[in-house]
Symmetry: C2
Subunit: 512 residues, 2 copies
């Protein structure tokens, strides 16, 4: 396997499964080429029913070797991936490529399907046991990981051609118009599946809540849907969205959030028209709550907040602290209710996250606060692998906003469980340091050298400012130098940058 | 030019401009083949502005010979088509194909651009002076007329590739998210332009109402928009939508509407869950009003009404007589307000009208009431040409619902201005008789022979039922036999069926 060193210093193969890969060349160095993927024209005539039995659909349309896709809005409550794969396995299907936007611990049965040859490869985020099994070499082919927008891009440009898309829809009519805001499995937007609905060869909406035609609002329109299958239950509603999300109570995390907000304030960015992305992690929620309180206090009105949406963002909308919410994913029930009832709360397609579209939503962000599993002295961020080398998380929505927002904050404690988080070199590069502006720890902050403007301003405050190496040294002083994981030379997964270039690889871990 | 006789008995050419045409073979006899049109992938990076001056846009992107497109939601109030063509003419552009979804009397300046060679061909509906000029042979190439859904189909499958789409947007942000429900030029949905936004090579949103980012609701998303041009005024708001629409007061038309409603009632179709399409013509409005009153009286609740939306449909929604409105076009201000404020009133893409999509909205219609310029003894309908042969109207939304609804009513008086409307042969076949179920005149109704079920039921009522020839003979008896128009053998326009096959041609009229 011929390998090259890419722009972030990682050695990556030039070819995988006969496909030529471009090594990562820089955050915006590889523009798109070619045309969008073109699915077939297909007509459904008057009188034809689009309803189908799920097993019949799988029997008829899923052929050995095909790529089948799912969205992950049902998160750790999803039943559909397991159900479809179980049926496929029983039907003797094999060598499938599983292109779920993300898999969660509830999808542990996927591991057995990998081992049994039902699945030969996964292209998507693997959170928990499936990633672990992949790390141990239990997947026949090398997996591909992309961030949310990179996955939408790959579907749109044909890098990831989908044969059959299964779209879990909490409310759907018998013609396929569907949404995620009504029904027992309500999850909010169906944003992750928009690209699949547009570009898959065959689109099958699966619902546990078949409603009267026409189902409105229309998140995915009938004109892209081939069939609708009704099943008993789509998922465990307790696990799909939380009843409520909670800010962190950890003093460390609260301190980190305070430093973020103080830095934003120092930069003079708390002003009318400001925009920011808030995730659902404890620190992000804490930043959102603190920032929102400060905005409210100063009567500053922001233009929009971008989700993963939680009640903290919804509260800001309802108080008039922000004017709009742009929503690709809901994390709790108040957010789902807000998306359903408040026209200022707008669902978008995950194609809005793509780098190769006519302007990603991230381009409009002033601020983003993102977490990290590891950060290194080059500001590179790892969110995929733990320090033992195990692939336990997807890239999620990390790369896009990091690359595009005016100021990107990476929040992380100096160490966790006595393992340094700020370190000489990350185990895996999920997001390259060139797009990171400020790393914030409970100990203090480090500013990327290219952001002299930020450095100048924060130096005048009481916020403790360090060089990134100083943070790393402090972490090592407190915990000792971390041991490198024992890894095989075998690549088990590719980490793509949002433009489709190869950012890093993940190596096999020896099973205990 | 080699010609063939198609399934509706018309002689049509096999080839035009080197393009092979399939003759019309029957309403559902020609399924789609091939793939959707694939526009180029394109990236807009952070910091790039998408704003452009309209003249610069035309200078930069419109090349001689290109196809440029517009939507017609601004109807007879539109300024944009004239403005773009004026600039193009001043820049010396020539041989353009004008693919506006429809042109109106306000677009009379287009005639001069045709004569001057700025425009070589029109693909779209021509209402009024432009159609007349085309009839007289003032267009360099043969025009193509399609119904709304056929035009969306042609854009989607690549039969009508669009180089530059200009999308008039009553509200838009600087990234191209836009809608038609806010602003001085508010027109309702932007449905006609959805296909263009998805499939044109270059998409330019033009607005007179640049709003703060993000513009919501999002009718057309930023991810499909290359540029946004701000201009002073998009159109004459008085002409874009009426302040109000009015039902007919003509006793003839009221009688026709009564027969329609009585027939529907006789068929037992006034029942919960019923759906219907209502247009904005006087008879259609009268049917809507009468049918709605009857439904209300009987406490029948319909599932949806399909627009062209008027306040008559909105009233039914607000009274709970229908549950939803599905909206491709608004005709008056109350409809625009309803679309803006009522979540049960849902905008759809004109791709919902395409025959070659995974289920047109028309397939879900129980009933449709459509007008006619002429109807013949084979139930063929002409809505394009007057009996003097002049091309004065587009096909509009005639073909799709006629082909797809359970019962299609064609409403027309027996004669107008002493010219028989029910006649031996229509001047132009816009919609083939095979998809028509009932022709309703003030004199009585005629049922298509294939609908024995309908015939049996209506014969038991007091509704006067005739053979279609009897209606024709009565018309001739009253007005005398109509004279055939004096037409040249030169084809000036093609009438396509909604599946892209050739239904008829329009011949040149000798100019007085």
């Amino acid at each position: 396997m011929k390998q090259v060193v890419n722009a972030v210093g990682r050695t990556v193969p030039e070819k995988i499964r006969g496909i030529q890969y471009t090594p990562f060349k820089g955050a915006f160095a590889t523009p798109p080429t070619g045309k969008k993927h073109a699915p077939p024209m297909r007509a459904v005539n008057p009188g034809e029913s689009k309803l189908i039995d799920l097993e019949d659909a799988i029997k008829t349309y899923v052929k050995d070797g095909m790529t089948i896709s799912f969205h992950h809005h049902l998160r750790n409550g999803d039943f559909l991936v397991n159900e479809v794969l179980q049926i496929a396995a029983e039907l003797g299907k094999k060598d499938l490529v599983l292109a779920s936007t993300a898999l969660f611990p509830c999808h542990e049965p996927v591991v057995e399907h990998m081992k049994a040859g039902v699945i030969r490869r996964i292209e998507g985020s693997m959170n928990g046991p499936v990633g672990k099994a992949c790390s141990y070499g239990h997947m026949k082919e090398i997996a591909t990981l992309r961030d949310h927008g990179g996955r939408a891009r790959a579907v749109e440009c044909g890098d990831l051609p989908i044969d059959v898309a299964f779209i879990a829809a909490p409310a759907a009519d018998d013609y396929g118009n569907c949404n995620g805001v009504y029904g027992p499995s309500a999850c909010g937007p169906l944003a992750y599946s928009h690209a699949d609905s547009l570009y898959a060869d065959m689109v099958i909406v699966v619902t546990d809540n078949l409603v009267e035609f026409p189902c409105v609002p229309i998140s995915i329109p009938q004109i892209t849907v081939d069939h609708i299958a009704e099943i008993g239950v789509l998922g465990d509603s307790q696990q799909i969205v939380s009843g409520t999300t909670q800010v962190t109570r950890s003093p460390t995390n609260i301190q980190i959030a305070e430093y973020v907000v103080e830095t934003i304030d120092t930069l003079g960015m708390i002003q009318d028209g400001m925009s920011f992305q808030a995730g659902a992690g404890g620190i992000s929620l804490s930043v959102t709550a603190q920032l929102g309180a400060l905005m409210e206090d100063r009567k500053v009105v922001g233009s929009f907040g971008l989700g993963g949406v939680t009640k903290y963002l919804v509260d800001l909308l309802e108080k008039g602290v922000i004017k709009k919410i742009i929503d690709g994913q809901c994390f709790d029930l108040p957010s789902v209710a807000s998306l359903r009832d408040d026209p200022r709360h707008q669902e978008i397609s995950m194609l809005y996250s793509s780098a190769h579209t006519k302007g990603s939503i991230y381009n409009k962000l002033d601020l983003v606060f993102l977490g990290a599993t590891e950060v290194d002295v080059n500001f590179n961020v790892n969110v995929n692998t733990h320090s033992d080398g195990l692939l336990l998380h997807g890239i999620g929505g990390h790369q896009g906003p990091a690359a595009s927002a005016d100021v990107t904050f990476i929040t992380a404690p100096l160490y966790r469980n006595r393992i340094p988080i700020i370190r000489k070199e990350v185990t895996t590069v999920s997001t390259p340091g060139e797009v990171v502006d400020v790393v914030v720890t409970e100990y203090g902050i480090a500013v990327h050298p290219k952001r002299k403007d930020i450095l100048q301003k924060v130096k005048k405050t009481h916020i403790p400012v360090y060089g990134i190496e100083e943070l790393q040294q402090e972490a090592y002083a407190l915990c000792g130098e971390p041991q490198s994981p024992e890894l095989s030379e075998d690549i088990i997964a590719l980490i793509q940058w949002r433009d489709g270039t190869l950012l890093d690889t993940v190596k096999r871990v020896k099973e205990d």
